[in-house]
């Protein structure tokens, strides 16, 4: 074979070879085709584990109830039993170690999420007790008169 054919052929082969070699190092060993076939599951398998180990921040009522039973007991017998502690108190994370104190959202805005009156006929929102925010003691925090843990205003 003549060299003008031979030489570029070697160059091409070297390029292809080095790409294949580089691929061995760049592509993770667990990268491949899994359960759903090439179209839907062609990926790096260990990424599933990485997502599964993502940190849980909202720990649910069950996490709060043992230490804060004095707050937990009244709320579970009230209409606010459907609301998670963390909805107002913020995610528990590793409380009480980290953070030692949670920041409570006592803002008017928080209560108005449900209790701003919206007369929507085909939604549960229309059936919730609500106020007109501009008329009902504007500028005051709801918790000055209402106890969010005992919303029926008993003993208040």
């Amino acid at each position: 074979m003549k060299t003008h054919v031979y030489r570029p052929l070697i160059v091409v082969l070297v390029i292809v070879g080095s790409i294949l070699l580089a691929r061995q190092f760049v592509v993770p060993p667990d990268f491949g085709v899994y359960e759903r076939g090439f179209m839907y599951s062609y990926y790096r398998r260990s990424n599933e584990k990485e997502w599964e180990e993502f940190k849980v921040k909202y720990r649910t009522k069950q996490y709060c109830k043992d230490c804060h039973s004095d707050k937990y007991e009244p709320i579970v017998s009230s209409k606010h039993k459907v609301i998670q502690c963390e909805n107002c108190h913020g995610p528990a994370l590793e409380h009480p170690q980290d953070p030692p104190k949670l920041t409570v959202d006592k803002s008017r805005q928080l209560c108005l999420r449900c209790h701003a009156k919206l007369p929507y006929p085909t939604s549960l929102r229309g059936k919730l007790k609500g106020v007109e925010p501009a008329q009902h003691n504007p500028g005051m925090e709801c918790s000055m008169c209402h106890n969010p843990h005992k919303p029926d205003m008993e003993g208040w």
Partner: protein, 256 residues
């Protein structure tokens, strides 16, 4: 040649077996298929949204953002709530201020004052990733950075995503977005880190009224599977053929 009764029975029996034996039984499986058979999962996560129960409080959006480290004040979110107000004269108003993160506290929809007497129907529709059975966002990924788990959840590999944005364009539900910090495609993970620990997703947990529910669609005794099988449910954009697995009770034709 003598053809005995024994020969006849033998021939008839082997002929029957040969014709009954399906050719599929002799198929050679690909390595992936073999693995799939061995590790076969009996879990398929699905979601049920009851739009009658949703009050638009936005606790789900808040919880999702904090749980999944989605920048709180950036105009991106993995889940959001849409409000639809349909007037008696047929006009439709819809909005989702900050994805409904801070709830809906005013009758105003996009600066339009609406009189309560004019409302024919009004409701809230929570939205999130549909974890489609045939996810178009996964099909278009040129590098294999997004994939569907055996339990149906579609995830993004942040270390592998090149940020080309094809998947964001491909999703008919507008669920994907760029994560402002990681600069990769981002989407709802169905809180897979919570589901594998036996917990509910952050949004389901935060919902006070049970408007959002998550469950295993392969378990016939799962409360949400029962509802999906027995009640009148709908999915979003069925005509796209993506086979979404988030089912809605009380969906309206104005919801897209």
């Amino acid at each position: 040649m003598k053809f005995t009764r024994r020969d006849f029975l033998k021939t008839a029996l082997s002929g029957t077996i040969a014709s009954v034996l399906p050719l599929g039984g002799l198929r050679i499986l690909k390595p992936g298929e073999v693995r799939a058979e061995i590790e076969k999962t009996n879990v398929r996560w699905g979601f049920l949204v009851d739009t009658y129960k949703c009050v638009g409080c936005g606790f789900c959006v808040k919880a999702c953002k904090l749980e999944n480290e989605v920048p709180y004040d950036a105009p991106v979110t993995r889940t959001w709530i849409e409000r639809y107000v349909i007037l008696k004269d047929g006009r439709v108003f819809a909005d989702t201020p900050m994805g409904g993160r801070d709830g809906f506290v005013s009758l105003k929809v996009r600066e339009t004052e609406i009189k309560p007497a004019d409302i024919a129907k009004a409701f809230f529709v929570p939205k999130l990733c549909n974890q489609c059975e045939k996810p178009p966002c996964v099909q278009v990924c040129p590098v294999g950075a997004t994939y569907q788990r055996a339990d149906g959840v579609v995830l993004v590999d942040r270390s592998w995503c090149i940020g080309c944005g094809y998947c964001i364009m491909a999703c008919p539900y507008g669920v994907r977005f760029f994560h402002p910090v990681y600069r990769t495609a981002e989407k709802c993970t169905f809180c897979i880190h919570r589901l594998v620990k036996g917990m509910k997703t952050a949004c389901v947990q935060a919902c006070p009224f049970g408007a959002r529910q998550v469950g295993n669609l392969k378990d016939l005794n799962d409360p949400i599977t029962k509802v999906i099988l027995n009640e009148r449910v709908a999915v979003l954009k069925d005509e796209y053929g993506t086979k979404p697995q988030v089912y809605y009770l009380g969906l309206d034709k104005n919801v897209r």
